[in-house]
């Protein structure tokens, strides 16, 4: 695999994404949220303590003062959860048409006639989407951290690390979306499968509970088999949220969940490579 070729494909995906209406809306909404937070949140900080706080003019902290760190640990997990759930939903919609567009008839033929290997094309699309997802996560979480830093005079990298969990979860989902696009070249199907994995990934986090609801026997065994390799998206969000909230990472739980999600995503990217390699265009 030639990294330069992969980067060239990814760079084209990014150049095109700059003009994507969905991504413009996504970044616009994040920006709007950050501006609203910056304007609506009014905090009085004295010696690391918040003596008064207002949000949209309504008192949120009054009477008793609160430590800055205490407020951060309660706000940051909320932001991480927002990124993990709302951010993922937006990203599924925003990037669903990227691969089908690159692989559309009349365009893929020209691309494949150039000095480019088919798996490099797939890897380039995945890399491009990875950069888009990472940028929007960084923009959202970084922006929120920046606003809070200005207001509280205290910074923390914990939410960024927490948001990485959202990124890992999304990339597992996008592996499936990419493989779907390689088979069908349809943005709707790509998004559909993305939401399917998202829903199943949330349910898989409470696998034991879900399995208990299913009648024991072949159906339950089959459900367990299907849920086994799925990325545990809620668990990933919990890990990110807990870390952003100042708790230590439980590595024994985090490593298999993160590793499993990465492996799940890469498995589908490999599947997409195989599909594109054997397919006639």
């Amino acid at each position: 695999m030639n990294p330069r070729t992969v980067w060239n494909v990814a760079a084209d995906v990014l150049r095109e994404a700059v003009f994507s209406k969905y991504l413009i809306v996504l970044f616009g909404l994040i920006f709007l949220g950050l501006v609203t937070l910056a304007l609506a949140l009014d905090l009085e900080v004295v010696d690391g303590m918040i003596s008064a706080g207002k949000l949209f003019g309504g008192t949120i902290i009054g009477g008793q003062s609160m430590a800055v760190g205490e407020l951060l640990t309660s706000i940051m997990p909320v932001i991480v959860y927002l990124v993990c759930f709302l951010g993922t939903i937006f990203m599924i919609i925003a990037v669903a048409d990227i691969a089908p567009r690159v692989l559309q008839p009349g365009r893929v033929e020209l691309t494949l006639s150039l000095p480019i290997r088919r798996h490099e094309l797939v890897a380039g699309i995945y890399l491009g989407v990875l950069i888009i997802a990472a940028s929007s996560t960084l923009f959202g979480i970084g922006g929120a951290s920046m606003v809070l830093f200005v207001k509280l005079k205290m910074a923390s990298a914990a939410p960024l690390v927490g948001a990485l969990c959202a990124l890992v979860g999304f990339l597992a989902i996008y592996g499936v979306m990419l493989a779907t696009s390689c088979v069908a070249r349809s943005p709707a199907l790509s998004a559909g499968f993305g939401f399917l994995v998202f829903g199943a990934g949330l349910a898989t986090s409470d696998r034991r509970l879900v399995l208990m609801l299913i009648k024991s026997g072949v159906t339950r065994d089959l459900a367990a088999l299907v849920m086994g390799p799925l990325p545990r998206l809620k668990t990933l969000a919990d890990i990110g949220g807990e870390y952003a909230g100042g708790q230590a990472i439980r590595w024994g739980e985090a490593v298999p969940v993160i590793g499993g999600s990465v492996a799940f995503g890469l498995f589908f990217v490999a599947l997409a490579c195989i599909v594109v390699t054997v397919k006639d265009y």
Partner: protein
């Protein structure tokens, strides 16, 4: 290497449909080769196999002496697909830069080459930085053609290059292809416009139901073994000419045109000698040529009957 493209026994099936069957073809290096045939004859499928976009089920295919799947070889191939889709947000400059980067051109080369090919295809410089989303079909086609010409390819594969282009633009593209051939580029052209193909190409192959039914140099294929002779009008010229083996065709006032059909050049010489001996004055001798449409019709009808 004297052959730019060699195909031996190429087969391609899509499910139960045989798109290409036992196709044999050789495209000489430096030729301008036209592939013609009806819709569904397998022309685009064959072109895609030449470029490694589609894989044949059987047969051997060699392009510029290598495999169509050899990635390094593709630096020397330029391709214009039949229904090119350029990212709508891209300007021609951005699109060509993207193609140039994948082709391995350096930044200065991209700048120089982009300017050269855009001027060559006659795209208005005002449009160079505009997004192609608002382009007409002809402008998009010119941009695609510029991409195919980028990096001076050794083999230029053009699928309907003049599709959507106005008559003056077509003539410009014809000249451009002729220039490329003069510079040593092999051109492999698929077009429904037979008059265009006839003007541009020196070799043609007719594809029917997935196989080559006629192929060769165009000037050879166009020969009819029939001649028209214009004699100066004189008393008894009809009798003398028919006696020499000619058939009357037209009376042009001060001259008469006669036809000698299904005869060789030797037979023509003998007939002319006989007519001249009888006192007729020859004004003009013209070999009768078939046009490409006739070649296509003659090639396809028997092959279709054979298949039936």
């Amino acid at each position: 290497m004297t052959v730019a493209l060699r195909a031996r026994g190429i087969e391609k099936r899509f499910g139960s449909v045989r798109a290409v069957t036992g196709l044999d073809l050789e495209v000489p290096l430096g030729a301008c080769f036209g592939l013609i045939g009806e819709n569904g004859a397998g022309k685009t499928t064959f072109i895609k196999m030449v470029l490694g976009i589609t894989r044949p089920n059987a047969g051997e295919l060699s392009v510029l002496g290598g495999s169509p799947h050899d990635v390094t070889l593709r630096r020397h191939i330029g391709y214009l697909p039949e229904r090119l889709q350029i990212p709508e947000s891209f300007s021609p400059l951005r699109f060509l830069a993207s193609v140039g980067r994948v082709k391995g051109l350096t930044r200065p080369q991209i700048v120089d080459e982009t300017r050269r090919v855009l001027e060559l295809v006659g795209l208005d410089p005002v449009a160079w930085k505009r997004s192609t989303g608002g382009f007409s079909k002809g402008m998009r086609q010119r941009t695609g053609l510029a991409a195919a010409l980028l990096g001076r390819p050794k083999l230029l594969v053009l699928d309907e290059p003049t599709d959507g282009i106005d008559p003056l633009g077509r003539a410009q593209i014809r000249d451009l292809i002729a220039d490329a051939v003069r510079e040593g580029t092999t051109v492999f052209l698929n077009s429904h416009l037979l008059a265009e193909t006839e003007k541009i190409c020196d070799h043609v192959a007719v594809l029917s139901q997935g196989r080559v039914v006629v192929r060769g140099a165009l000037d050879v294929l166009k020969r009819k073994d029939a001649f028209r002779v214009r004699f100066k009008k004189a008393d008894g010229d009809v009798d003398h000419a028919t006696a020499a083996g000619f058939a009357p065709v037209d009376d042009l006032g001060d001259s008469r045109v006669f036809k000698l059909e299904g005869q060789s050049a030797e037979a023509l010489s003998a007939a002319l000698a006989k007519a001249l001996g009888a006192g007729l004055i020859v004004l003009e001798v013209m070999p009768e040529l078939k046009d490409l449409e006739t070649i296509l019709r003659e090639a396809i009808v028997p092959s279709a009957r054979g298949a039936a």
